[in-house]
Amino acid sequence: MLAQNVITVKNLSAGYSSRRTNNIVFENANFSIAKGEFVGILGPNGAGKTTLFKVLLGILKPMSGEVAVLGEKCKSSNCQTNCKIGYVPQRHTFNSDSMIEALEIVRLGINGRKYGFSLPATSRMERAAAFEMLKIVGAQDLAYRPLGALSGGELQRIFLAQALVGNPDLLFLDEPLASLDIRRENEFVRLIKKTAQERNITVLLIAHNINPLLPVLNKVIYVANHRVLVGDANEVFTSAFLTKLYNSPVEVLRDSFGRIAIIGAQEGGHECDHKHG
């Protein structure tokens, strides 16, 4: 039985246009993602990975092509679809010395869109649900700690809990591994995989390092050189595939543990600087 597609992208071109320039980030992207898949989005800096998320979230209008998320053609981020998407952005705008406790940030994942104040009973229920989610991501000890006192790894768990607390069908994670050491990278990926599997959530995760994702990946979206290519990790991470993508010699090396290292430089100013190994 074929799994239902939760994301379908046809002939998508995206970028940023102004009066004078039309900066196309990538064009003619075609792919679909089935329910429950764990998808890694990789590529060099500035290639358009976050831009792809913005289009899928409806924040950025496509230049051309069609995007359907959870069966709905998303034209703007106001559509109800976004309530079913948990999102952890690359950067957060809160004050780094904020004294607001972590539980309140998670709670915004439940009530942030609502108008007016919560009644005391509703407020208690929201806090209980937020605490339960913190337990699931193993961060219950951080619930009452000020945000400003948390480390990068601890914050990632808090933001993951915030993204999950609204019971999403889709989870978009933009470089959640960036501030973690190798051990915590692996732990965090396992945690996401376990939680997503239990709740039947489809995960799209942007990363620079493919290796912690290798055990859990169903699919890879590789964004580079204005193109978006999709396949499984074994298809994408080959010298022939990436050489063709970049129009420049690229070598993919694998060590005895199956870890990948990519060596090479690309045309169009992209530097192959990600540490796949």
Binding site: I59, P89, N95, F117
Partner: protein, 292 residues
């Protein structure tokens, strides 16, 4: 208007009830307490979000833009409050359209702020009469508030409080985590404009109490103190409002007996509390860690 005019024989009696009774026999003190309380509540409410968004400089700039509007109105012979309101609202919409990043663009905002203040000075110099109204807008003139001004302040204050109550969570979400809020479908653009309009409206009424130059004392300092103490936004808002109200009441009370401006006492009180909270790093842990 000076509080000690024709009241030189008034002395603090250490009987608060009796002192307050004496104080409230004077209409100007009653009006000052009424308007001051409304303004302090509004400033404390919106101030917490200003501090969370790190938009205090933008809020400060709005008050200066308002001063220019007020000075222009004085020059044209109309009520300066209209000029103040028009300019702060227009400035609020302008900063809102530029977006959240504009709110923290210190250099650009500072440049516009300095120009607007210069323009205000020009307007005052062009004015042939006594520009006492413009002066009072710079430093506040709470003891000169009329009962009709109290009513206007009350209506504006209620409207601002209602708007903040309705949009409390979306504004909080956008202030704390703009990208996630936008991804969840909140319109960061419109919430930004609404927020700047609310700041503009709050500034227009707060100027009566502390003036353009001292607006920070009610709109930013109490909220900055609250941000250091509260672990929940709702507690932060309550603390911010309480400090603003306390400072305003104490400032008015002291100025009734001493021949110095109310604005000075209000700014001094919030400054002392701020320094106290900053100097004692464990203050929050000592008093607030057991809050549920």
């Amino acid at each position: 208007m000076n509080a000690t005019t024709n009241m030189d024989n008034l002395m603090f009696s250490f009987n608060i009830i009796s002192d307050l009774k004496t104080m409230f026999q004077y209409d100007f003190m009653l009006h000052a307490f009424q308007a001051g309380t409304i303004v302090a509540i509004v400033a404390g409410l919106i101030g917490y979000f200003i501090v969370l968004r790190r938009s205090s400089f933008a809020a400060h700039a709005l008050s200066h833009v308002g001063f220019t509007g007020a000075a222009g109105a004085v020059l044209m012979g109309i009520n300066p409050i209209f000029g103040l309101f028009l300019f702060t609202m227009s400035g609020g919409v302008f900063i809102g359209i530029l977006g959240r990043k504009a709110e923290s663009r210190d250099v650009q905002i500072g440049t516009v702020l300095a120009f607007m203040l210069g323009l205000g000075v020009l307007f005052i110099s062009l004015y042939k009469g006594y520009a006492t109204e413009a002066y009072s807008l710079l430093f506040g003139e709470i003891l000169g508030i009329s009962s009709s001004n109290v009513l206007i302040t009350l209506i504006a204050g209620i409207l601002i409080a209602i708007a903040l109550g309705v949009f409390y969570r979306p504004i909080l979400f956008v202030s704390l985590d703009e990208d996630v809020a936008e991804a969840k479908g909140l319109s960061v653009f419109w919430i930004g404009i609404l927020f700047m309009l609310l700041i503009a409206a709050a500034t227009s009424i707060a100027v009566q109490v502390v003036g353009v130059l001292l607006i920070f004392s009610l709109m930013v300092t109490p909220a900055a103190i609250a941000e250091r103490l509260a672990s929940k936004p709702s507690h932060g808002i309550i603390i911010s409002v309480l400090i603003a109200v306390l400072a305003t009441w104490l400032g008015l009370f002291i100025s009734f007996y001493l021949p110095y401006p109310v604005s000075f006492f209000i700014t001094a009180i919030v400054f002392i509390i701020y320094i106290f909270v900053r100097l004692i790093p464990n203050f929050r842990n000592i008093f607030f860690h057991k809050l549920p």
